[in-house]
């Protein structure tokens, strides 16, 4: 998910950016407009060539039977219909939603708890923050490769610990079983990405005035009462944002499943992005893959739009 994670943070910034578009008085003498256009042109060119053009191309392709080589024909919406009728697609959707449903709340709760630990400016809080965030920085690709060995039957650390605790006999082949693999990957993800939620929530929490907390404490409010009636309402936009980042990250999950299970056994742990990859680059059905791409862009767009609505309403 390292790429996904990168996008996640982008999204955090995007939220702010769209709300922070400000106006300045004209200062055309020192900053002639044409120079401004020249300065932003290269970045815009990248965005147009590598994001907008492929997006438009995808819409077009999704209505053809585009092969890797050779000519193509218009097929209208048949790709979309074909996808909608493919049980493997729906299984991958179901699996991705299940995976998202499993990891989202634990990531938020653990991220919140960690943020509570590091938000105070006590001695050592920076060190704790550094440590809690470390797995996220290392990235899911690397973490997934490390987990490959520790998930091996008998010799992997997961099994060694469970055997040592007397829970299993330590011979579990974690990655050969869909459910076990899912569970293991979920634990790794929660452990690995809660640090991001922590940093985001910490930023929000530090914006809550200290005095509010202190006066509530003097009035005899317990820790949880204070969190529930002061902190959480005040940082709800940050919470909403970190939720959207983690949900979108989960919906786009690919790397950890590719490395650890290859979607297997069978297609039991195949996520939507894996399914698209499979259709496009293994089965070479590029039209169908493009149709799927469009659907995914729309879904992610809807999740993001829902976030904007949420933020605007509660403002």
């Amino acid at each position: 998910m390292s790429g996904v994670a990168g996008l996640g943070t982008d999204r955090a910034a995007a939220t702010g950016a769209l709300q922070a578009v400000r106006h300045r008085p004209p200062r055309s003498l020192t900053h002639p407009p044409h120079q401004g256009v020249l300065l932003v042109a290269p970045a815009l060119a990248f965005v147009v060539v590598f994001v907008l053009a492929p997006l438009a191309f995808a819409v077009y392709m999704s209505m053809t039977d585009w092969p890797l080589i050779g000519s193509y024909e218009f097929t209208g919406l048949s790709n979309y219909l074909g996808v909608a009728q493919d049980p493997v697609f729906w299984r991958s959707v179901g699996y991705t939603v299940l995976y998202t449903a499993i990891v989202t709340l634990p990531i938020l709760v653990l991220g919140y708890v960690l943020a509570v630990v590091v938000r105070s400016n006590r001695r050592g809080s920076t060190l704790f923050r550094t440590i809690f965030f470390l797995p996220y920085v290392i990235g899911l690709t690397t973490l997934s490769f490390l987990l490959v060995l520790e998930a091996q039957p008998d010799s992997g650390a997961v099994n060694v610990v469970l055997r040592w605790l007397g829970i299993t006999d330590g011979s579990t082949a974690w990655l050969a079983d869909g459910r076990l693999a899912t569970g293991l990957i979920c634990v790794m993800i929660v452990w690995g990405v809660s640090g991001l939620t922590m940093v985001l929530l910490m930023g929000g929490m530090q914006g809550v005035p200290r005095e509010v907390h202190e006066s509530a404490e003097i009035d005899g409010a317990t820790w949880w009462q204070r969190e529930r009636s002061i902190t959480i309402p005040m940082i709800r936009r940050t919470i909403a944002m970190s939720l959207v980042i983690s949900v979108i990250g989960s919906l786009l999950a690919f790397t950890q499943f590719y490395v650890l299970t290859r979607g297997g056994p069978g297609t039991e742990t195949q996520t939507v992005v894996m399914y698209i990859y499979q259709r496009g680059f293994v089965q070479l059905q590029l039209g169908a893959a493009s149709a799927l791409s469009i659907v995914l862009v729309v879904v992610v767009g809807l999740v993001t739009a829902a976030q904007f609505r949420l933020l605007r309403e509660k403002d």
């Binding site: 995007a14 769209l18 490390l146 490959v148 520790e150 940093v199 003097i218 979108i248 990859y277 680059f281």
Partner: protein, 313 residues
């Protein structure tokens, strides 16, 4: 709650409960306040330390693993002596012979450093334009850049592959650099625009009075003020591309161009001979090192970058 890290041999403990204030009345803030803060402090230290172990032990264990030979790694019950019988053999083997991994590390370094530089340059220019200049359609264009952040590249990977293929940018490190730069650009532009906007106009104006042109004023006067923003966007771009997986998997087929994660897939599937977990874990640890070093050295930029998104959101 699934806060345990079962991949660790020693410490698999739940994350700490947050500090809880003692029950009962509190007649005065001064007397009980001090006792309470001591309780809190103990909880903070104990809880924070336990949580740190949960996060650190698996990573430290993996580093230890990378110094173990394969037969110890796959052994069901290694002796303590074997566990701590460490050597550099895995790393030596990875960099010996036809040195696939060494080449992959080189590829990854070239690609991610170039991405960091290109992203920082493009983002700085665009940030200057968006933050300091007024031109028709400025807000609209900035909105366009920001909205592209929300288009997941995972979704457009198929048409993007065809397009890059047509442009001769597949199986090319340059292609990968351009792709990664695009993915990281919107965030960089956002950060740099904020950086330019927070610099007082007077500073730039005084440089102009002294006769510096647009680019000279940008470079000489503003550089120290912009360095945090530049570092943030470069660092993000580097870390995001260093172990990026799906794009590399899609755009590269020539294994001489493979980046580190793709080489690790080859190691994992035994493409270079029998699967050797020692090599795999050593390769993964190599992938870990730059992330950890850069993060620890530059974390104030990293966290500041995240916060800049979070606080406004």
């Amino acid at each position: 709650m699934s806060t345990t890290a079962p991949s660790t041999p020693t410490a698999a403990r739940p994350a700490p409960r947050p500090a809880r204030s003692p029950r009962g009345g509190s007649p005065g803030p001064s007397s009980t306040g001090r006792a309470e803060s001591r309780t809190k402090l103990v909880l903070y230290v104990v809880g924070g330390t336990l949580a740190s172990l949960v996060f650190l032990v698996p990573l430290v264990w993996s580093v230890l693993r990378s110094f173990q030979p394969n037969d110890v790694i796959v052994s069901a019950s290694p002796t303590w002596q074997q566990v701590f019988q460490l050597s550099l053999d895995n790393f030596r083997a990875l960099f010996a012979g036809d040195a696939q991994i060494a080449r992959a590390v080189g590829n990854s370094l070239v690609v991610s450093i170039s991405t960091a530089v290109l992203t920082a340059v493009l983002a700085t220019l665009a940030g200057y334009g968006f933050g300091r200049f007024r031109f028709r359609g400025r807000n609209w264009l900035f909105g366009l850049v920001v909205v592209t952040m929300m288009v997941p590249f995972q979704a457009i990977i198929t048409p993007l592959y065809l397009q890059m293929n047509a442009m001769g940018l597949t199986d090319s490190r340059l292609g990968l650099v351009l792709f990664y730069s695009t993915v990281n650009l919107p965030f960089g532009v956002f950060v740099m625009r904020n950086a330019f906007e927070t610099i007082p106009d007077e500073i730039e104006d005084s440089a102009r009075v002294d006769g510096a042109g647009t680019f000279r004023s940008l470079v000489s006067v503003l550089r120290p003020l912009l360095l945090p923003g530049i570092a943030t966007s470069a660092l993000y771009a580097f870390l995001a591309s260093w172990t990026e997986f799906l794009g590399a998997l899609t755009f590269l087929t020539d294994d001489r161009l493979y980046t580190l994660p793709l080489s690790l897939v080859n190691l994992q599937s035994g493409a270079y001979g029998a699967v050797d977990f020692g090599y795999l874990v050593a390769g993964a640890v190599i992938a870990m090192v730059p992330c950890v070093v850069l993060y620890v050295a530059l974390q104030r930029f990293y966290v500041a970058g995240l916060a800049s998104g979070a606080v406004k959101g």
